[in-house]
């Protein structure tokens, strides 16, 4: 009954027989010929799925995602309805769905959504183990977010990578061949850019995406962190102070007005040529490349990308917008839901999806590093490593309400902004952040 249902799962006849015996709704994990485990899920008869996902940032993403959905329906007969919501609105909707026990079967969420209600989510360990074994394993950060108490509470989807976006000609004019990999060199570059009248600019307003990602990177790169492994607040540390002193120096080189910047501001300023260096997703490049304005289109040739510099801690410490895929326990079709996620994450679907989104989403599975999208244009390459170089925003503690609240309240962003702008000394800013974070981490 099941051997001819889907062609992407290579399983032995014996396993198929076993699955058939288990009947609809059963599943089987076994070793296939190549040594990687196979997973055969049997969607329930007449299953229908509702998926709620974050609204695409680039059109190619949505188009291909829907094509993959259609392919799933064709292969399994399972109808799938997909709704889109702005990514910041998915969080409350998912939480309400978890709370009232009805809503979409699958929700594509962000950051630590699953950690707020792990008991309401379907265990997807089998799918995660299958995919991990087949595609070279999950990056560490996936486990930090979604693996707890020996099970996967949701499936990683990837992340929207955040890299340094810069104007190559301006960096060259400032006397640098590229972006230095160390903090001192990076500061020197920013000073030189400023001196040439082509300054950098990083968002310091309450910008949920851009503000959080670069300020976390900065503090982490010096060894500062909000909490330790036991969730004790340790932000007020000499390492943090060093990071904040650095931020104050860096801020002097910024274009004016960054304290008011929200998520769209750096994109606008960059495309208008007012800043030459910022941190962003690949969307700026995408926008320039696909612009109908010839002036902006020409800009695409001059745009270059680089990963964030590495600080005194000696390893990459980036924060990117992490995406997960949750199946809720209330779903009537758990097997169909798992089969859907499995299907969407298989190489045949996932890599094409990445390609159509021109690398907007970075893979959580290491094998997809070889996706040609990362090398077809060398400018895409830095985004390939977005999951490799990132750590979870609740680092070094566990994810949950405390980490969610601390980030939603912009504790890190505000601390860096206060110290950078000089409205507070680094010491005062760190003390204030400590007090604010302690309120969220007190249990």
């Amino acid at each position: 009954m099941s051997t001819n249902r889907r062609d992407f799962l290579k399983i032995s006849a014996g396993v198929a027989a076993g699955t058939a015996a288990a009947g609809v709704g059963g599943e089987a994990v076994a070793q296939a010929k190549g040594g990687a485990p196979a997973l055969k899920l049997n969607p329930e008869k007449g299953a229908k799925l509702r998926v709620l996902r974050w609204k695409r940032f680039v059109q190619g993403d949505e188009d291909q995602y829907m094509k993959n959905v259609a392919a799933f329906t064709k292969a399994t007969g399972v109808e799938v309805r997909v709704d889109n919501e702005s990514w910041e609105d998915v969080r409350p909707k998912a939480a309400v769905a978890a709370n009232v026990g009805s809503g979409p079967d699958i929700i594509l969420g962000t950051f630590d959504d699953p950690n707020l209600y792990p008991d309401k989510l379907l265990d997807v360990t089998d799918v995660a183990n299958y995919l991990g074994a087949k595609y070279g394993g999950w990056y560490d950060v996936c486990k930090q977010y979604l693996f707890q108490k020996n099970r996967w509470i949701a499936l990683p989807l990837g992340c929207a990578g955040n890299c340094l976006v810069y104007r190559e000609s301006h960096v060259k004019a400032a006397g640098f061949s590229g972006v230095p990999k160390d903090m001192d060199g990076f500061l020197a570059l920013c000073k030189a850019l400023k001196a040439k009248g082509t300054p950098p600019g990083f968002a310091l307003g309450n910008a949920t995406g851009d503000g959080n990602s670069w300020t976390h990177w900065l503090v982490w790169s010096f060894g500062g962190k909000m909490v330790d492994a036991k969730n004790n607040v340790v932000i007020n540390s000499p390492e943090t102070i060093k990071a904040l002193e650095y931020a104050a120096e860096l801020y002097k080189t910024f274009a004016p007005g960054t304290l008011s910047w929200l998520d769209p501001n750096n994109n606008k300023a960059f495309l208008d040529g007012q800043i030459s260096l910022t941190a962003n997703g690949i969307s700026v490049y995408y926008a320039a490349k696909t612009s109908s304005d010839p002036k902006i289109k020409a800009l695409a040739d001059d745009i270059q990308h680089a990963n964030m510099p590495i600080g005194p801690v000696g390893r990459a410490t980036e924060l990117n917008l992490f995406f997960n895929q949750m199946i809720f326990k209330y779903t009537k079709y758990p097997q169909a839901a798992k089969a859907f996620l499995q299907f969407m994450m298989e190489k045949e679907q996932y890599e094409v999806w990445q390609q159509q989104a021109i690398g907007y989403v970075t893979q959580p599975l290491k094998a997809y590093e070889s996706n040609p999208i990362w090398t077809v244009d060398p400018k895409h390459t830095p985004y390939r490593d977005a999951m490799k170089v990132m750590q979870a925003h609740g680092y070094a503690g566990t994810m949950g309400y405390s980490s969610a609240q601390t980030m939603a309240d912009f504790v890190m962003v505000n601390m860096v902004a206060e110290a950078a702008s000089g409205s507070k000394s680094p010491k005062e800013a760190a003390e204030r952040a400590e007090k604010r974070a302690q309120r969220y981490y007190k249990v």
């Binding site: 910041e88 969080r91 409350p92 998912a94 939480a95 309400v96 978890a98 709370n99 707020l116 209600y117 309401k120 310091l204 307003g205 309450n206 910008a207 949920t208 274009a255 004016p256 007005g257 960054t258 304290l259 008011s260 910047w261 929200l262 501001n265 606008k268 300023a269 208008d272 007012q274 309400y401 969610a404 609240q405 939603a408 309240d409 912009f410 505000n414 902004a417 206060e418 702008s421 409205s423 204030r432 007090k435 604010r436 309120r439």
Partner: protein, 301 residues
């Protein structure tokens, strides 16, 4: 028989006819308000039921520097914006009450800022105040008055004043048009009598216009203060509460804590904390401005 008599009873009928309105009020007003207040006394998180924690949320907020800052911001925003809106609105109403050419057209135009959806006009202000693209800064630079762009939303005090200016722009028409309606109800005979008594223009305003207008002022300013105190859209679009939380109002902070932050109980408590201020504003206008004795020419007791 007795049933039809029962329905003929005026009291029964009255109750019956009020039932739909009462049900609407209970379902859509009393219940949400009550639920919000109750949530403020629990530690409910989004996605998780809470338990009664008494005044914990309020104690937490009292000790929270950002919440205290938002209270200050809200009071500052409301007081300054309301005073400016009142003065400008009254002035505009007096001007519009004169015999101007194209009177009807002008009156219609004045209402425009009030008609435009707030979210849209806020986006327009966002561009006006943009650190890089502000047309205001551009014009000032071109005129040679300043050399660098004004950081409207990036400097805490400037950001407060900029958001207030946007709020005033939107709120003045409501005040002006309502006061204009009030002005038109003042009988011309009063002005004639005042003129015969030799009253100057200022005296006519002070002793005739203003007392006759106070009931309207009380109503319109109560509404204006309530709208301003609970403002959300403008701040959310312009600054999201930044820079450095300098423009976070209680409403915006309440949302930030409750929805993105997931702390529904705390957010509800912050929202409930606004109620006493709103009640105070209502009571003030009710008892302070409805001075009937003064309106009728006697002095206040």
């Amino acid at each position: 028989m007795s049933l039809s008599r029962f329905f003929d009873n005026r009291n029964v009928l009255g109750l019956l006819f009020m039932l739909p309105a009462g049900a609407l009020l209970i379902v859509f007003l009393t219940y949400p308000l009550g639920l919000g207040t109750w949530l403020g006394f629990t530690d409910t998180k989004i996605g998780r039921d809470g338990v009664w924690v008494g005044l914990d949320n309020y104690e937490f907020l009292f000790g929270d520097s950002v919440a205290r800052l938002s209270l200050f911001n809200t009071l500052f925003y409301t007081v300054v914006a309301s005073v400016i809106k009142f003065v400008l609105g009254l002035w505009l109403a007096l001007l519009l009450n004169k015999n101007l050419p194209f009177k009807a057209f002008l009156r219609a135009i004045v209402l425009l800022p009030f008609i435009v959806p707030t979210a849209l006009s806020a986006i327009a202000f966002w561009w006006l105040y943009d650190a890089q693209f502000s047309v205001l800064s551009w014009a000032l630079v071109k005129m040679g008055l300043i050399t660098t762009y004004v950081d409207f939303l990036g400097e805490p005090w400037l950001a407060r004043l900029s958001t207030i200016a946007a709020n005033v722009w939107r709120g003045v028409p409501f005040v002006a048009i309502t006061l204009l309606a009030g002005l038109q109800t003042i009988p011309a005979s009063l002005y004639e009598a005042a003129s015969l008594d030799g009253a100057t223009e200022w005296q006519r305003f002070w002793h005739v216009t203003l007392p006759m207008l106070t009931p309207i002022i009380a109503v319109v300013m109560t509404f204006s203060v309530l709208f301003t105190f609970t403002d959300f859209q403008l701040i959310y679009v312009l600054t999201r509460g930044g820079p450095l939380n300098a423009t976070h109002l209680m409403a915006t902070l309440s949302f930030q804590r409750a929805i993105p932050g997931g702390a529904l109980g705390e957010g509800a408590a912050l929202a409930t904390a606004m109620v006493p201020f709103l009640l105070a504003a209502i009571l003030f206008s009710y008892f302070g401005l409805q001075r009937r004795a003064w309106q009728q020419g006697a002095s206040d007791k």
